[in-house]
Amino acid sequence: MELENNQTGQPFLKEYSYDLGVLDRGYTNRTLYINVGSYKIKEKPVTPLMKDKFIGGKGFGLYYLWQAVTESTKWNDPENEIIISSGPVGGITQYPGSGKSLVVTLSPLTNMPIDSNAGGYFGPFLKFAGFDAIELQGKADKDVIIFIDGNKGTISIEEAHGETSDTHILGGQLTEKYADNEEDRRNIAVISTGSGAEHTNIGLLNFTFYDVRRKGIRLKQAGRGGIGTVFRDKHIKAVVIKFAGVKGNLNHPVDQLTLNKTGIKLHKEIHDLDNAQNRMRKIGTANIIEVMDQYDLLPTHNYKFGAHKDTFKIASDVFISKVTQNSPDGCWHGCSMACAKAADHFELKTGPYKGQKVTIDGPEYENAAGLGSNCGIFDPDAILELNFYCDTYGIDTISYATLTAFVMECYENGILNQERTGGLELNFGNTEASLELLHQMSQGVGFGKIAGLGIRKMKAYLAKEFGADPQFLFDIGMEQKGLEFSEYLPKESLAQQGGYGLTNKGPQHDEAWLIFMDMVNNQIPTFEDKAEALHYYPMFRTWFGLNGLCKLPWNDIAPADNKLTDEPAKIPEHVQNYVDIFNAVTGKAIDKHELIRQSERVYNFQRIFNIRMGFGKRVHDKLPYRAMGPVTVEEYVSRQERYDKQLTELLDYDTTGKSTEEKIKVMRDYRESQYEKLTDAVYKRRGWTMDGVPTVEKLRELEMDLPELLEVVEKNM
């Protein structure tokens, strides 16, 4: 007999009931497995090994993905999984930035594990509903919606009917559908993507939360690595979770008072100092647009340059006038940092939703820099419109922006032309062409279909179809490991080249952002200094992803006396806050050193996972030269004084009478050799071989000498 869902009137494909369970010291000690192909649903216990060595969040994601796949699994095989997990600290309501969901899957861009995080309410609700993680495996033969009722203890798989997959519509519809009434909408969180994820490799996952002030859904994104593409390949249209009754003690922490006090301390700090520091509450991450420009770091014209005369048109104050103020804009309860901005009543000028007035979540710095300056677009409304359509189509703004900048450079170089793009005049600065390219991606038509493959596959296509020079494409195509670069210009900072290149998932700056420390402050002058930074910061930042935490409240606000501490860049007081809240929730007694070791275990696990999949070695850590120095004469000449001076001072090279091409070559040899030396130093510091493989001794030292890891490592020595 087919059961019917009272709320939707649709037949269930599967219904499952579970005991609500107990959330104790940050863990439910149970995870949820759903196979959308076979409709199998089961509960799994969280083992002591998982908690001791993987902590939670992306640690759990990587752990489960390892079990699910083999060396030969591809992203679109049914056995690939999407795992979503918060982490033991996730879901507390007192400390800013404690609502992150960590998502792990095999990426269609990199063919190895990707991890990406999002705000929104899903991760915390999943825990409160009784699960530390959810695994989604299999492939449905028709579009399905998964609904978890965290108060009733029921899970259903339902067939999706008719709805568009574009999130600004679908997310709203599902929020209404599964809420009992207006008051109940705050208890619904939806994960979905959009039509663009169905036709590109750069699909993202949107995580909604209901904004009780605006009376509408807001979106946060797990953007990187094509997770939305995997989601739609599995024919999952949405995962909806409902949980009513959020309170400040649902994690059953051992020490509630410490959580309260530590949270209040940071709330007060933000209240007192944010406006004089980074203005996160006013404008969010976009506060640094003009800062990046002034320090020649704002990617412009596909990372050729670091500044542009028109940057003032997209400076943070321009966006401040476009976003709605005096609205609390945190993406989880208790986030007084409140960086999530929104522009309300924005009238769209193009595309299928032309004329609609919408709320746009943004702009983030990355979007303004990527969709804007990197593509030569200095029109704030165009950036907002591109931002909106990327989000609702389920397209990663960063990959979209970086690959569009690449396409534009190819167009200006004659590798592409109007005939090859099907009429799109993709010069730098052509807003209309960029928007049209995006609309094409949502339908999988025209040149949008090619561009949506991502830079790596596009490079192969351009070489094969049009005979473009592969070396030039490699030099200017800003991807590494298959993932498009995020939006900072790393040319003048060797440490940041490492921060992009010597990473697990590819050139996303969430592991290390060392540009100022290195290039401007000159605090890490030697290879050893840089290597130490490229050990500490990636490990420290990895820890956020194990615990369901956001990075921003760590260093986008600093205590008034931070500058008097011995290591201001680490924000020592905030590091201690994290130690304190972790211990307060879990009852463990870690210190700041054990915190780093917790990360090291998972970091090395991920590295070995990459190696297992055929990647993750030295050869995969190479960078396109555009990330390291001037590729073209135009670039060299634009900063000639700087480059000539460097050649003279660093290499004792007499530049008089030398052609620009000669100087480019000498500069390139030098910079590439510097990167190799850096790589040596970093591998050494991390306890890896010179081929980038973690050593057995390192794994023993970390108590990560698990048989499955040793097997991979020994095979690759």
């Binding site: 309260n260 007060k268 609390p328 309860h333």
Partner: protein, 124 residues
Amino acid sequence: MKLLAKNDSLCIGCGECEEACSKTYFKEVNQEKSCIRIKDKTINVCTQCGECIDVCSVAAISRDKNGIVRINKKICVGCFMCVGFCPELAMKMHGDLLEPFKCVACGQCSKVCPTHAIYISEEA
């Protein structure tokens, strides 16, 4: 608008108000659970300015028809942003409680104040 007004110069620091407050709301004598606090003969109490209303992301704080700023405990998720953002430092937290608490100008404390340093004001 109704509020608990104060005149610091009259305060003798006897603490009677704190005792009355914590007894009224928490049935115990405990300065840490009083909405009004006396320190060095200075009175710290909510002015009903309402800055916390906009800070609350779940709209649990609102002004009632008498002008009193009130917390709806049912909606409150215990984030304590309002405590950190209170310009008067008059929004309070206690480890036994999941929600913050504040003065609602009930006047119980003013009845026991021996010097009339605190009193209910109803001026517009």
